[in-house]
Subunit: 539 residues, 2 copies
């Protein structure tokens, strides 16, 4: 197919008209392959237009363009990258209405939630813009020369973080904006100075195309090489697989299922030259209710927990999927209230027929287990899902650990713990999760230091008297955790520290000042915080 499939240049006119074609470094593919369509979950019907999976030839064009753009883009200033990120943010806001409308059709997520997600995505881009504009994030370190040192002189050493190269980002089904084409992975990879190739999620290709157009326009408007961004469609697995295996790709970011995430990890590790592959995969986000607060306000807790596990139809990475409740005062009221709320929940429309099907099939499996009691709301058609409550004991959970696995959708497992020891043992048996939540009075918490110590080793974020849904995009946020919640607990995919996934240090020894990046020059022209001979300052 070759270069011929580089077609039509873009323009704002063409931007909002969906074509179904991938963006290849600033141009649209014109290749027509087997078409696929998005399915509107609300009606279970296909949505226009047809989308066309990228070809392997197009994939190579996109990656080669990214590779060619990298040396230029890697050397852009923080100010330039900030301009790009802000241009994308402004572009999203400018077409917010169209974005929300299309995303609503493709995902059945409520308009208000999607409007919020546009804001979150734009703010996320602007937060990374601030970080790279300020510039200190590069961790610049200077060890000055000690020519008189004995037995050997010390050379002048200067290091900082640099981008890795083309990064592949996989769109996520449950955040069509904030975790997809211009979401946190793309924002952090671009902020760091890496070109990005996005594999669009096949469940919201129209939303992806709209955002892809905005990013493409922003790259052009900022005068950056077009290879800084490409967006590839694929109904299947071929493009994603080939992207992770492409020799010029230097890192991967993914949010999705454990099965898909592990498969990408394995591909990345099996390459002739392995690359970093950050996958955020599965988490049941255990909640521990402590005795004091349970006795005080069982129904308040139940209501808040119901709100959290059914939020967004339970389709959040941080949905609390499992709650450990001590027997004793309040337990009965807590259970009764939860059952009542579960039973009376409105039906939810899930993101895709596949997700709804998987939800129902696991629901059916669990509901028939002898050790489990199920309380379910009614639900009817293809993408509809009923809220469900499963109840079991800590002993039965220990006997069937599959109950502790992520069940994506509006379900909650309530685990009754007969003793404090039973709760501690349940905590010890936990796999890695993104979050753990403790609901209790301050006295409760102080009396449960052992529980806290166990949970600290299991998760990336600990919440006291809150709920894990609602992941703040900020400097201190950690959206990460031990396997299987992520592939590498040393990183986070939300918050400004997400940038560290896509950079590595490089050191210059005895280089003349003029050949050094601005961040490492004697005069500190950018005025960033640096470590000079071990002391941090702006000198």
């Amino acid at each position: 197919m070759g270069r011929k499939s580089f077609g039509m240049p873009l323009g704002y006119h063409g931007l909002m008209q969906l074509t179904g074609h991938s963006f290849l470094a600033g141009r649209r593919s014109l290749t027509v392959t087997d078409p696929f369509q998005a399915i509107a979950p609300a009606t279970n019907t296909p949505l226009a237009p047809h989308f066309y999976s990228a070809t392997l030839d197009e994939l190579n064009q996109a990656v080669e363009a990214a590779e060619a753009a990298f040396p230029t883009y890697a050397k852009t200033s923080g100010a330039t990258r900030a301009k790009l990120l802000r241009a994308i943010a402004a572009g999203l806001e400018a077409v917010s209405a169209e974005l929300v409308e299309r995303a609503h059709l493709e995902t059945a997520l409520p308009m208000a939630r999607l409007q919020g997600e546009v804001g979150r995505t734009a703010n996320q881009l602007r937060l990374f813009a601030e970080v790279v504009e300020e510039g200190s994030w590069v961790n610049a370190r200077i060890d000055t020369a000690l020519p008189e040192r004995k037995p050997l002189p010390r050379p002048d050493l200067r290091s900082m973080l640099f981008p890795l190269g083309p990064v592949v980002v996989f769109g996520a089904s449950n955040f069509p904006l904030a975790f997809s084409v211009a979401g946190g992975d793309t924002a952090s990879a671009l902020a760091a100075g890496n070109p990005v190739i996005v594999k669009a999620h096949a469940a919201h290709p129209g939303t992806s195309e709209l955002v892809g157009g905005i990013v493409t326009e922003a790259v052009a408007a900022c005068g950056l090489p077009a290879g800084v961004f490409s967006l590839l469609f694929d109904a299947g697995l071929e493009i994603g697989t080939a992207l992770v295996q492409h020799p010029a790709v230097q890192a991967v970011a993914f949010t999705g299922s454990h099965k898909a995430g592990r498969s990408l990890m394995n591909l990345a590790a099996a390459r002739p030259k392995p690359i970093p592959c950050f996958t955020e995969m599965s988490s049941t986000n255990p909640v521990f209710v402590l005795a004091g607060v349970l006795a005080e306000k069982p129904e308040v807790l139940a209501t808040a927990l119901h709100g959290s596990f059914t939020l967004g139809a339970g389709q959040f990475c941080t949905k609390p999927g499992m709650v450990f409740v001590p027997e004793g005062p309040g337990a009965s009221e807590f259970g009764t209230k939860l059952r009542e709320l579960a039973r009376s929940s409105a039906a939810f429309t899930m993101l895709t027929p596949g997700i709804a099907g998987a939800y129902r099939s696991e629901l059916t499996r669990r509901a028939t287990l002898p050790a489990v009691t199920a309380t379910q709301a009614a639900a009817t058609d293809a993408c509809a899902a009923a809220a469900i409550l499963f109840e079991t004991s800590s002993e039965d959970l220990a006997a069937d650990p599959t109950l502790a696995e992520e069940h994506f959708g509006p379900s909650l497992l309530v685990v009754s713990c007969a003793t404090r020891t039973a709760a501690l043992e349940s905590a010890r048996r936990l796999e890695g999760h993104l979050t753990a939540t403790i609901l209790g009075t301050e006295e409760d918490l102080a009396a449960h230091a052992e529980l806290l110590a166990i949970l600290e080793q299991k998760v990336g974020r600990l919440i006291f008297n809150g709920y894990p849904t609602g992941v703040e995009v900020s400097h201190a946020m950690v959206h990460g955790g031990p396997y299987p919640s992520t592939s590498d607990r040393r990183f986070t995919s939300v918050g400004t520290q997400a940038i560290f996934r896509f950079v590595g240090p490089r050191c210059y020894q005895n280089f003349p000042g003029g050949m050094l990046p601005a961040e490492l020059q004697d005069s500190n022209p950018l005025g960033i915080l640096r470590m000079m001979d071990g002391v941090v300052g702006r000198a």
Copy 2:
């Protein structure tokens, strides 16, 4: 075997008497397995005493003790860990004479070099002590609550870096002290708050036992749980393999060959729960001589380069193994001088018969290639190695990339580049290396921005007018680089940033101050640098 193999408690009396037994969390193994011995490379004869490979049962005891020690050790203050690191440093210095004597027997490295390595190892421990005592390295971040924010309030979020858990460290053949039992990997893992299980290198078990005794005593003297440190012997691969596969092990650090390193990477990635595995593997450390300086002082360059590639018998990770020389003024004198120096080099004794054998066999293979001219010094017996110079052209190197692979020992490949384009193409074809060196005048360097840009993507450290051997242990040092030089170019194994391999972030949301680590408490009791709402300071 069970607990019975936990035997004899230690004491300084027993410390310096080699027993050949592993250290299992503060006690010596008493298990007698098939014995092995160190070989003195200088005489190719076995050294007393016999050493005994640890059993899998003992391995489990060591790892379980590490796991049990972790919660306590992870919560120790920076001051406590600094005390431990300094106690180890003092212990090394106290028995410096015995250490140097034994290491000299086991490695044939010169006494002066080993004396220097004791100092380097002690200084390295003390540098990490300073870092953790000062405390700001944990990257504490606080985003204060914004209860009035619309549409949703922001919770209080506080994050910092925490240790991962038991770390497995592999001793390295070429640094019996600085990269082995109490070397940089152990120092950084302990500094971060992780228990360490060292797999001793079988080529210097006596040195390892001496250092293992010092660390064991220091752990006890500091009142820390004995599981903080174990040292396991093994003549084969079984213990190393089982350590990397043990479910309680949370990270791995290795320095050695590409084959062994990749094999450990694969093991770590194939675990049911993959773990970080930092391997530093192979690097040829290319040197580019530029035309200006070559014309100016060809013989000076040749002499310095000869000094660097033969230093320590060429057994450094950073040995410059490949030099690219432009045709033109000075090239002939440079070549003549190098040949003369190579031919007249004294014979070297290599670390082990195996390393010497591998060196000679690759030497023989290369010397018979038609595209290669070899100039060799004389060498005689088992562990002796002759310096050798291979000469070829950039075209012939392109045709046989095996010549660019690491050849561990005192050899150098001189690559003649007919044109500047040929040199740039050679640079583009480079694999990942730890370092690249440019020798030139400042005018040369300024005129070679393209070469610099290529090399920046190939290595972790760039050196101008210096030599890559001599790796400073400091804040700015980067001893890392793209695969195959290391498993993950986002990290370094030398310098204070090596600590970041063994930690990950954890976030506390809405926690009462009393339940937070000191680093995250409002009053900043440790006075560390923190990021508060995006602004770094000590407030």
